[in-house]
């Protein structure tokens, strides 16, 4: 692959021998890229940059200020929103990550019939894309007080709503998020599991390693960066989620995305500047997550390719 790329870059384009070489390549090149850069600037870079600018700019005087950042860091309501968002993202990333890994490992190395792997991949491709309003409704149909599973369990004498469970709070929302989290884990971790060579298991067994020792000293150390890296991706996936929570709880749960949504609908915060700072904080967390993932990905590639 690298060899091909180098050859591609190294070879000067043999234009001089071509009949149409009188066209100046420079102007054509720029004409080709300008639409992309204009588009990206107008609809992505410029709008996003105003988050950075207005978070540090007084709404009235337009002077530079750090007051929104400090206010954000001292506002228990907004910090609470970050905390719940981070908590639910972490819980579903770790839970979905573990479950997704076990599922992927079972399908790939568990000695199951071969067709199960490809069907699992297809299901996961669909499920990781099935989010938002329909997902929220699917779980309402299943687990709300009138849901099918709730009624079924009640008929067996166990109504989860009598035991402290509700769909519309933290743990309920976590269960719903898991629906798009674990399939994502399966899709991303599968290649890493494929990279785990069978020879390593055989070598370990020949040397008398127990199943526990194989996992503790060989498989886990190799897979761990990939697992944790993918979990970080799941974290980001849940952290930015809005539609599912909004549809499920009607905005009752205090996530950062929900607060930003209400701020956009009707300026619920004391100062519009606070809304920018709140949004900027989300981007900051996401950037941290991506950096962490990239770093872990580099470490994974040493062993798995």
């Amino acid at each position: 692959m690298t060899a091909i790329n180098n050859a591609e870059r190294g070879a000067p384009l043999a234009r001089s021998s071509l009949p149409r070489s009188s066209l100046p390549p420079f102007s054509w090149t720029w004409l080709g890229l300008t639409p992309f850069f204009i588009f990206a600037f107008l609809f992505l870079l410029y709008p996003s940059s105003i988050l950075g600018v207005r978070s540090f700019q007084d709404t009235k005087t337009h002077a530079f200020t750090l007051k929104y950042i400090t206010e954000l860091l001292h506002d228990p309501y907004l910090l609470g929103a970050y905390w719940i968002s981070i908590k639910i993202s972490a819980v579903t990333a770790i839970g979905g990550g573990i479950f997704g890994f076990l599922l992927a490992f079972s399908a790939i190395r568990g000695g199951l019939p071969r067709f199960m792997r490809s069907s699992l991949m297809t299901f996961c491709g669909v499920a990781s894309n099935f989010a938002g309003v329909p997902l929220a409704f699917a779980f309402i149909a299943l687990l709300s007080p009138q849901g099918e599973l709730t009624r079924f369990l009640s008929s067996l004498g166990f109504n989860p709503y009598y035991h402290g469970f509700t769909l519309y709070t933290f743990w309920g929302l976590s269960i719903v998020y898991m629906y798009f989290q674990f399939p994502l884990m399966v899709l991303i971790i599968a290649p890493a599991i494929d990279g785990l060579r069978r020879e390593w298991l055989e070598a370990a067994e020949n040397l008398g390693a127990s199943s526990f020792q194989y996992w503790r000293y060989i498989a886990l150390p190799i897979l761990l960066p990939a697992i944790v890296g993918t979990m970080i991706l799941l974290f980001g996936n849940a952290f930015g989620a809005f539609a599912t929570a909004q549809a499920l709880t009607g905005g009752q749960i205090n996530l950062v995305t929900i607060v930003i949504g209400s701020q956009l609908r009707g300026d619920i915060l004391s100062d519009p500047g606070l809304g920018y700072a709140l949004s900027l904080g989300m981007v900051f967390v996401m950037v941290l997550a991506i950096i962490g993932r990239t770093w872990l990905q580099r470490r994974t590639e040493r062993w798995l390719r």
């Binding site: 709008p47 491709g125 938002g132 309003v133 329909p134 699917a138 779980f139 629906y179 539609a243 996401m286």
Partner: protein, 260 residues
């Protein structure tokens, strides 16, 4: 693998299958209960005869088609030129195409509304802004699909062959390169389609008719019809992913979309 391991493998698989299908099964059962006491497709009939459904659904399809066209027009020439002539632009362009990953959609729409709702940039009501926003949100998938497609063909030889036969740049791009990467474009197009059809936030906050906001609205009004809609929506996602798998022969990478 040992027997114990196999039992565990079955256990996790069964659990996964239950997690995957129980909510769908419940939704399906629920959608059949519109008529008291019997199972019927009444909820589906109600939806299909609702003019709001037709309107929002067809609007979403229009948005999706425009998003795909704009995406192809902007990203194919860009990715092509970078492969052929401007490798030094690869890093900045790829960085930009991946930016939507770090900007949650709600944050993105927040910045869009605040940017474009004051003069001189008062275009927040324009459908063009919505299409641009959809294009941005689907950009990571569309661009990487196109780039993957270009990697698989010999861009340089095809271009030179076209040039030596006297083809113009437009001819090379649209009659040689484009048909050669149609599979990649198709898979990018279906991901974009799935994203646009499922995306709630953009249309809701830019106040345009679309399928997902309609579903969210209906959820507050009715009991059984939203269940039927959820099934329709699921079937749609399934169909899109099925087509992508079919044309892309199981290249599993670009299948993860936004819209949560």
């Amino acid at each position: 693998m040992r027997r114990g391991g196999q039992i565990w493998a079955w256990f996790w698989m069964v659990l996964g299958v239950l997690y995957f299908f129980l909510p769908l099964l419940a939704t399906f059962l629920f959608s059949l209960r519109a008529k008291k006491g019997v199972l019927s497709f009444l909820a589906y009939q109600n939806i299909l005869t609702d003019p709001d459904f037709t309107h929002s659904f067809s609007s979403s399809i229009v948005w999706a088609v425009f998003t795909i066209i704009v995406g192809i027009l902007i990203f194919v020439p860009t990715a092509y030129l970078i492969r052929l002539r401007l490798p030094r632009f690869r890093t900045p362009v790829e960085f930009i195409t991946l930016l939507p990953f770090v900007i949650p959609v709600i944050v993105y729409v927040f910045s869009l509304v605040r940017t474009f709702s004051q003069p001189p940039l008062l275009i927040v009501d324009s459908p063009a802004l919505l299409i641009a926003a959809y294009t941005v949100v689907s950009m990571p998938y569309m661009y990487s699909a196109i780039d993957t497609g270009l990697r698989a063909i010999d861009v340089r030889t095809l271009t030179e062959a076209g040039q030596s036969l006297g083809a113009s740049w437009a001819t090379i791009l649209f009659r040689i390169i484009l048909p050669n990467i149609r599979v990649a474009i198709l898979s990018g197009a279906f991901i974009s389609f799935a994203i646009v059809m499922g995306e709630l936030i953009l249309a809701q906050y830019l106040v345009k008719p679309a399928f997902a906001p309609y579903m969210a609205f209906l959820m507050q009004q009715k009991a059984y019809e939203p269940a039927a809609l959820a099934i329709v929506s699921f079937a749609l996602t399934w169909a899109c992913m099925g087509v992508i798998q079919l044309v892309g022969r199981g290249r599993g990478e670009a299948q993860i979309a936004a819209g949560h």
